[in-house]
Symmetry: C2
Subunit: 372 residues, 2 copies
């Protein structure tokens, strides 16, 4: 698909015989390329909107909106940057209406609302960028959740060599998404599969299976009440997802080979479910997490102190500009004062995928080590 991502051309295709040429004719049109990523890290955005009075682009690597310029033909464009190598979100604002770029098929699809993504590369590939290494496989399942009474989606990553190995049992990370996401977010936006492919190629992590379930639970009327109310998801995970995975994948069923981590809402779920089920999970990670409410947290930490040797790792990451930073800071102070072993990873940045990709890249090499 790479060839479709560069250049801006007008196509008048040569005519072939018979119906192949008819199909070509149907596609004979001006192909507008947007975004066009230049080798120096600048990015050109384009939108064909002859009737618009004003078009802006809102892209993460510049602050605020940037006005685009209209050509005589009605194509709006602007070139911004250079930007650091990264995956950035963007959208267009056409006369006040936010839209996605019709020329770009890479979308961060949320439960409600989508944004486009654009990737800027540098001279060396970044840790989240596909390299010429062995690639694992992402498996899309539909499973019947008996506990919830619905059929749900589930993504599973297996590392390179999984299909051709035999009699090897792998440790497993349950990796949870955020409030606006679905079960594909950690692969489509988070690049978890690519990050782990790259870590494994450098021998920086143990080969592992990653299970990415859908974190919302049915509720009527449609709302966000699954935030802070994780009981139904906990049952689905423990009674349905884990048995489903253990039946179909060569994963270890030992507590010391099972981790749970997540971002934002999924971080809150990881703390609640992980610390609440220490007989199941030996490693817990919470990225920019929605820290459980005080009473709930008291119970979890009390239990953790009683059984501290069961937990191999409690890993907390948060950016200083995150709106959840204060809550995470308080959690870390609490862990210190309670003398609970943990790793606190405070970084720059806000509530954003840029950090979560980095946190995953930091966490995975620490998991499933024989020595604590």
């Amino acid at each position: 698909m790479g060839a479709f991502k560069s250049g801006c051309v007008v196509l008048l295709l040569s005519v072939l015989a018979c119906s192949a040429s008819q199909l070509e004719a149907a596609s004979r049109r001006r192909i507008l390329v947007s975004p066009e990523v230049h080798s120096d890290g600048r990015v050109t955005f384009r939108l064909n909107a002859p009737n618009a009075k004003r078009v802006d682009v809102n892209v993460q690597f510049v602050q605020g909106l940037r006005l685009m310029t209209r050509s005589k033909m009605g194509v709006w464009s602007v070139t911004l940057g250079p930007a650091e190598p990264e995956i950035y979100e963007y959208s267009f604002i056409v006369d006040g209406l936010q839209i996605v770029d019709p020329s770009n098929s890479w979308l961060k699809v949320w439960l409600r609302n989508s944004k486009n993504l654009v990737e800027v590369s540098g001279k060396e590939p970044m840790f989240f960028q596909q390299q010429q290494v062995g690639h694992g496989t992402v498996h899309i399942h539909k499973y019947r959740s008996k506990s919830l009474g619905v059929t749900r989606g589930l993504y599973v990553y297996t590392p390179p060599g999984y299909e051709t190995s035999e009699n090897v049992r792998y440790p497993v990370l349950y990796l949870l998404h955020g409030m606006g996401d679905t079960e594909d977010a950690w692969t489509v936006v988070g690049r978890a599969n690519v990050i782990v492919d790259n870590l494994l190629a450098k021998n920086k992590a143990r080969p592992l299976v990653i299970v990415m379930p859908y974190g919302h639970t049915p509720s009527v009327p449609p709302d966000m009440r699954s935030i802070g109310n994780y009981g139904a998801f906990e049952r689905d995970l423990i009674e349905d997802v884990i048995p489903f995975v253990q039946e179909r994948y060569r994963v270890s069923s030992n507590q010391k080979d099972r981790a749970i981590a997540g971002l934002s809402m999924g971080g809150g779920q990881s703390l609640t479910i992980g610390l609440g089920n220490l007989e199941l999970f030996g490693w817990v990670g919470a990225f920019s997490s929605a820290v459980p409410r005080t009473g709930k947290l008291d119970n979890l930490l009390a239990e953790l102190k009683e059984t501290d040797d069961k937990l191999n790792l409690l890993w907390i990451g948060c950016g200083r500009k995150d709106f959840l930073f204060e809550a995470n800071q308080k959690l870390i102070e609490r862990l210190k004062s309670d003398n609970i072993k943990h790793i606190a990873h405070i970084t720059d940045g806000g509530h954003e995928w840029r950090l979560w990709r980095r946190y995953l890249n930091e966490l995975v090499p620490l998991l499933f080590k024989a020595d604590k």
Copy 2:
């Protein structure tokens, strides 16, 4: 996700303690539901666009554009239908600009340009609708194409029971997408996995593996020249994809257990590659296909006549309103006059996924039968 798909509500969530409530607060906003599918098959479309002068919806189940009505708050809406149970494409046109619905995360993503999808259900589930049956798995691979010198995507469907069966080798269908599609089209839009799950649940087909490769090949400058020029894809398929699949999946390597089929461009590829490699493919299907040019076709049919007993099935489907209908009609006449065994499946309809889902549902039960 079902709960997020119905109803139109204003949310003011109750406040919880600590950071979970902060996360809720961040999501406290009017949630606009679009599309809303009513139980009688009518569909309400909504778009928040206070500054727009005119908003239309373009949906497959009505002819032409339909004007939407603006509320005082600037939300445009219209209720259309009732529509027959089906998956329909739609988009909004805001003051002449075609956009996707920001409230709907189900998209048909094309190489260039995306449309939304909306599914209308009837009293009984349709053949392409998820039912309470065993579900197969869709596997997303990245593989290195040595013949093309690039890393490419590949989707593979395995039937229910594949993971827990042993020593069973499955027949395999190579299923190709159209010109505007990528390797996920047959699952995301075509529902190939759901269709086959349902066929298998009714014992109407032999359990099979389906391989869905990416059909375009790199070309400079970015264009659609892969139409009608299938040599590079043929090498990728035969030298890279098939060995990759045979190494990782329990598939039969017999010609009589290997089929190839596709839609539009992928139909042209299936005819060209399938009939051109009868030692590899025992079954060929072409849906609304871009029939190969006359000279190429002459060669293919000449070879086929010489080795007619090698081919178990040649299946041609096309809709009478398809812009490729005449070419397909000519192909069928040619097959008749050349006395080449085939099944011609002429139906109503145009160049559309509605037909391709049905064609797949017709074709799969015919594949891999012991008796010709």
